[in-house]
Structures are given as C-alpha cells and as structure tokens.
Subunit: 142 residues, 2 copies
C-alpha cells in the first residue's frame, strides 16, 4: 500500500453551515459541491477534504447512527504567533467556537489554539518552528 | 485562512499496533516517531498523518475521556478494481479488519472497500475513475 492519502472524509450534519463557515467566512472554494450530499475542498496537493452528510456517511459504512467527528484534529500551520491569533479571530467571526485559547502547547514546543467549526470539526491553528516543507513537498519536522 | 491542511491527527490507543500495521505490515516509513507519544507519517506533499496517543490527545483538547476516531474516513485511491482487492488483502494480512467487501459504491460511481486498522481508523480503498491529479497537484474530480 502506497504511503498516500487522497481524501479525508468527515461526517457533517449541516452542509449549509459548512458552506457558510468555509466559503462565506474563510473564503475557501470547493473542488466539487453536490448539494445535500458532499462538499470537497482541496487542502493539499492531491488531497481533498470531503464533508459528507452524516446520514449518508453512516449509511456508507453500515453504521446505525450518524456520528459527529471525534478523535480527529485537522491542523493548519501559520508563520507566526500573531497569525495564530489572526486566524483564530477569523474563524470565530465565521462561526467557529474557540475550544482552546492561543497558548504554548504541552507537547512539541509549538504555539497553538483549537477551534471547532459549526459541524464539530476541530481545527488546531499552530505556529510550529520545527515545521519545514522542502521544494518537493517533503516535510521536515523536529 | 489559507485553504491548506498540514496535519491530520488521530487519537490512537496503541502505537505499537500502529507501527506493526503501517510499518511492518504495509512498509510505510515514519517522518518522526516519539515513543509513547506520537508517530507521524507523510501521506501527501506537505501533509503528515499524526497518530497521537489517545490519552495525550484527550489531554491536549481538555477532553475527559480518550476517544477512538469516529466520523472520519481516510481514503486511498488505486488505479484499478484489481488493486482494490490487492490493497485490502495486504491490509488484512497486516492486521486490518474488513468492514466492507470490495463493491460498487452507493454514491459517486466508484469501486471501494473499507478496512479498519488496529486502532479503529477506517480506510476506504477505492478505484475512482473520476479522480485525476494534474502536474501541479490540483485534483480534478467528477
């Protein structure tokens, strides 16, 4: 199996809330939007984030109930501590809920915050001085 | 906020099981491995998959209990239906549990299967004829 991810799909209860947050609030553009089913946003080279209506997500996996995302965090790195504050403020204006104020992390020497989107997807916004991406896309982390 | 994901982090109960599955079983290589804390695998240009010990994951977000991932699926695309079968077989040999036999999907006209890793992380293995990645990393999906 190649060491490669192509989609991350999250159970999403309200696609209108998702559009309002990511598109109207944060200025993102969808790669594909199938109303009442799924929205895809490209979030890295060759990688889509899929917000899949929770009941269809459950049906697809044969689950009895439609879950909200749990045990998963999406992280977005920025270049400075000030940008952590700026992005967190933009997410709050867009309808996000602050879970963790910008602060030093307990692990890894980073400065970060956590924000929940309207569908309970948790984002970490972080300034991580040990994070570097080489020209070929290889990540160096220390 | 840039439309960019840098890490996806999943609550992981047993890092030894994760190493056994991804490294010994599937031949992956870690970008960083901090024993008893976290393992990172690079899974796209500029993107790491972080398997973070579940109790530390919970502590980091101020959660009372350590969750298993729920409401999230990771998808891996392959070039043919035959490869779907091959990758699913490799994951089963590595210790994965088959959740959904290779079959036509209910949505999107793809051929796919679902496999749970030893830490309950759900992977979809799919052949999706509408999936294309351009040279600059832009995904085209129909």
């Amino acid at each position: 199996m190649e060491q490669q991810l192509h989609f991350i799909t999250l159970a999403t209860h309200d696609l209108d809330d998702a559009r309002s947050f990511y598109q109207d609030g944060l200025g993102w553009s969808p790669a594909l939007d199938v109303p009442d089913e799924v929205i895809f946003y490209q979030v890295a080279p060759g990688l889509l984030l899929g917000l899949f209506r929770a009941d269809k997500f459950a049906e697809d996996l044969g689950l009895g109930t439609a879950p909200a995302p749990s045990g998963v965090t999406l992280s977005h790195n920025v270049g400075s501590r000030e940008e952590v504050h700026d992005v967190v403020a933009a997410m709050a204006r867009a309808g996000g809920v602050l879970l963790k104020e910008p602060q030093e992390s307990a692990f890894g020497g980073i400065f970060h915050a956590a924000v929940r989107d309207p569908n309970k997807i948790v984002w970490e916004i972080a300034h991580n001085p040990g994070w570097h991406v080489l020209d070929d896309g290889t990540v160096s982390i220390s």
